[in-house]
């Protein structure tokens, strides 16, 4: 009884191993390469978000200064007009 049982187990292992051994997987180094690439993509996305934030802040600052420049020019004109009119 023992001999046939051992034969069965050995035979199963050989047959099963041959099925599994058909497909290959990336090595550890290759997986590291993929993970590093993904990390760089994440980092680039964060960097882009930060740049977009800074761009928005700069656009607002430029608009504010433009408004102040316009007001400054108006103030100069208005003051000079008042001086001329003698008020």
């Amino acid at each position: 009884m023992k001999k046939p049982f051992a034969l069965i187990v050995l035979g199963s292992a050989i047959v099963a191993g041959s099925f599994v051994g058909c497909s290959s997987n990336p090595s550890e180094e290759e997986m590291k390469q993929l993970n590093d690439l993904k990390a760089e993509v994440t980092s680039l996305e964060k960097g882009i978000a930060a740049q977009q934030s800074e761009k928005a802040a700069l656009l607002k600052s430029i608009a504010d200064k433009d408004a102040q420049l316009t007001q400054c020019a108006k103030d100069k004109d208005a003051f000079q007009q008042r001086l001329k009119s003698g008020q």
Binding site: I8, V20, N25, L44, Q51, K55, D75, K76
Partner: protein, 252 residues
């Protein structure tokens, strides 16, 4: 023997199935290659975006710096233009603010006692408005705010009597139902019980009553405290009758 072979094949198939189902959770080489391709393409695209954005930000930083310089130049030029006129003007605005800060929290009684200062503050604001420096927008805004605060104090003052109490009011009804005119209102026992004091109501509500012969339903008239007609009220009464007589004489 046949039995053993059949059993071996079945056992092998079952094992292979079980082992493979575990093996499929690990990435295949083909999957890895596809992912490398996709992620690399994404990386290149993002790098281009990032580079582009960096340049834009750099250009905007330069623009912002240039605007700061231009703004400072304009503000310096304006300061030079205003010259020695600005400092005393600002001191005047500060004095107006200080006085308003004193008057605003006063009780009605104290405000009544200091009512002459309200006219002084109005005088200061009028003088400041005539100053050329007031043409500058920020000073215009400041003067406007001061006038608003002063108007609020004037409104409070107009609604209180010498004791600092809020004056009672009377809401005008209709001629048809209530026979409301200034004479009849002053005649009411709850008001003055004396119709001859009607000019007091007229003068106390000059902002609402242009012609004392014409009052409107719904008008809320302040009722000044009962007292003899003042000099101003008597003058107004004389002018009223004078005008009435002139109109009566002028009619054909």
């Amino acid at each position: 023997m046949k039995y053993i072979i059949r059993l071996t094949i079945i056992a092998a198939l079952v094992s292979a199935f079980v082992i493979n189902s575990f093996a499929q959770e690990k990435m295949t080489k083909e999957d890895w290659q596809n992912q490398i391709k996709d992620v690399t393409a994404k990386q290149i695209d993002l790098k281009n975006q990032f580079t582009g954005l960096q340049k834009e930000v750099s250009d905007l930083q330069k623009q912002d710096a240039d605007k700061s310089v231009a703004l400072k130049q304009c503000q310096d030029a304006l300061t030079a233009l205003l010259g020695p006129l600005e400092a005393p003007f600002v001191a005047m605005l500060d004095a107006i603010d200080a006085r308003l800060n004193e008057l605003t929290p006063l009780s009605n009684q104290d405000l009544w006692a200091r009512r002459a200062e309200i006219d002084s503050v109005q005088n200061w604001i009028d003088i400041a408005q005539k100053n050329p420096v007031s043409a500058i927008q920020k000073y215009q805004d400041r003067l406007k705010d001061q006038q608003t605060r002063l108007d609020a104090l004037k409104k409070t003052l107009a609604s209180i009597n010498a004791n600092g109490e809020t004056m009672p009011t009377y809401t005008v009804g209709t001629w048809a139902r209530d026979r409301d005119c200034l004479w009849n209102i002053a005649k009411k026992p709850k008001i003055y019980d004396n119709p001859f004091l009607w000019p007091k109501i007229w003068q106390g509500n000059r902002d609402q009553i242009k012609n004392p012969d014409v009052i409107q339903k719904g008008q809320k008239l302040k009722i000044p405290p009962k007292a003899a007609l003042t000099k101003e009220e008597n003058s107004a009464l004389r002018r009223y009758w004078s005008k009435k007589n002139a109109q009566a004489t002028a009619k054909p």
